[in-house]
């Protein structure tokens, strides 16, 4: 019954108007989303009419529940998927104009950190980081100069010759950050970088990202780590069911959440009430 109703509604509802791209490109923006929608082949809307811009040197949190569209934004940014409508520009370059062949060259300008690290399992820490350089045609001298540097920055100097599965989760994520940053990309994307880590290790990773941000790199972090967002007091873009619902210069994880202590106390109180 419900299925038929849904079917009828879909048949009678007017086709959604093809959204027009509104507004002009934001000059100087690192990331420029204009009316971006993504409809997956399954029919799910991953993102609806998202418009925002990120400027050089910013540190941006992308927050929201799972399935809200954070990962869709990330995957759009690394051009793993194409938007259904709207336009995305990164560093002034329209992503739609990049052909499939040129994608690898585009990705070299991005550092990407994933929740599941995505390290090459049968290469040592050193070789994992070096691979990102070799891909861009970096010479052996480049590797010899840059890799130890970046490993020192991420605190991995002693683990040079370990394989990823000999490292803890936090260390693996450090390797992944080191690999993302070894080319000194202007933009670093992190999709749930602390999703698999305990709170203390997460702090370490966030500090690392913060340090990278301080060098002038734009950092976008998708996360649902509430404590982290609340403590860092950075720009927050909140996504809910595919729409951007909030964009604050210095925000907490949820709206009106700026007084962290109070809200935690309230939360604790509610929690206790529930128990009794």
């Amino acid at each position: 019954m419900a299925a038929t109703e849904r079917h009828i509604r879909r048949r009678t509802a007017p086709a959604p108007p093809r959204q027009r791209v509104v507004g002009d490109p934001v000059p100087g923006a690192v990331i420029d989303f204009r009316s971006v929608s993504k409809k997956y082949p399954s029919g799910d809307m991953g993102l609806e009419d998202a418009t925002f811009a990120v400027h050089p040197g910013e540190f941006v949190f992308l927050v929201g529940a799972t399935g809200s569209g954070k990962s869709t934004i990330m995957r759009l940014l690394i051009k793993e998927i194409e938007p259904s409508y709207g336009s995305i520009a990164v560093a002034g370059r329209d992503l739609a104009a990049i052909t499939r062949k040129k994608i690898p060259y585009y990705r070299r300008n991005l550092g990407v950190v994933f929740q599941d690290f995505k390290l090459l399992p049968n290469r040592t820490v050193h070789d994992n980081v070096a691979y990102a350089l070799q891909v861009t045609g970096g010479s052996r001298r480049d590797v010899r100069e840059k890799v130890p540097d970046i490993l020192r920055l991420t605190g991995l100097s002693t683990k040079l010759h370990n394989l990823p599965d000999q490292l803890s989760g936090g260390e693996q994520q450090r390797v992944s950050v080191a690999r993302a940053f070894v080319n000194h990309p202007p933009l670093l994307l992190a999709d749930e970088p602390t999703g698999n880590l305990d709170p203390e290790t997460s702090v370490g990773i966030m500090q690392l990202l913060y340090r990278i941000n301080r060098t002038g790199t734009t950092v976008v972090v998708a996360t649902h780590d509430k404590a982290m967002v609340d403590n860092m007091r950075r720009r927050v873009i909140e996504v809910a069911s595919g729409r951007i619902v909030r964009d604050e210069k210095t925000g907490g994880y949820s709206a009106g959440d700026l007084d962290v202590n109070q809200s935690t106390r309230e939360f604790g109180a509610l929690w206790r009430e529930g128990l009794e």
Partner: protein
Amino acid sequence: MRFGFFLRESLRALRRNAVPSFAAVATVLVTVLVLGVFIPVVQATTGAANEIREKVLVDVYLKSDASQADIERVRQKIATETPGVGRVEFISKEQAIKAEREAGRGEFYDLLGSNPLPDLLRVTPERPDDIVQVRDALAPLTPSGQRTVADSAIDEVKDRKENTDKILSATRVVKLTMGLLAGLLALASLLLVANTIRLSMYARRREVEVMKLVGATDWFIRWPFVIEGVIVGALGGITAILLLAVVKVSLVDPLADDFSLIAAPETMNFPLLVAVLLGAAVGVSALGSGLSLRRFLRV
């Protein structure tokens, strides 16, 4: 520098994935071995079948009173006017009886006192399958269904019909079967090698995905895999060919002196066989590696 890097990458991959790599080498080895044995066998068999088919012929018996001019006329007629004729051989009475004597049947003819054998033109068709055409030209069918002869000097045309039919159909079956078997074997080898490559590729699809996300171009990822395929194919192929060579020198060559079948004239010579097998092994595994990677490159 670039090539050195790719070579080092592929050697590293071979070392790290020792077991799948070994499986791939073994697959290529077995396949090349089987093909290396089977190709000469097929060729020898079809060669033998062809040799048997050569024995299909039409005998044109001449009348006993045919003059030398008659013989020459008939011979000309067969050689120039009849389509499908390959070779015409004249066997005189005297030659025929000599052959009979050599076969040990001389006494019977001695008893007769005279030579009863006719002069004979032995016609070999150009291709074995032309024999029906040749026979029909030399001994056309009358409307009443009887056979006449094309020239007054011809007494009878015999094509040893029964033998001919048997030889033609039997050799055709042999050739067809062998061809089919060879095709199936080649297909099986190809699928086997492709599947092995695919498996080892599937085990490393995550790695390929990561490489793409880091910004590696398709060919940057692909070259090490292709080189790996070349190495695997060459290792398997060379080992198999060495084994084949050992078997050839120690077993087949001594036998070949005694059995004409093994040294059938149409068998591929060994160096060519080696080149074909090695080329196929290296080519298939390199191509297979490069191509089966394609699916995983779509990130």
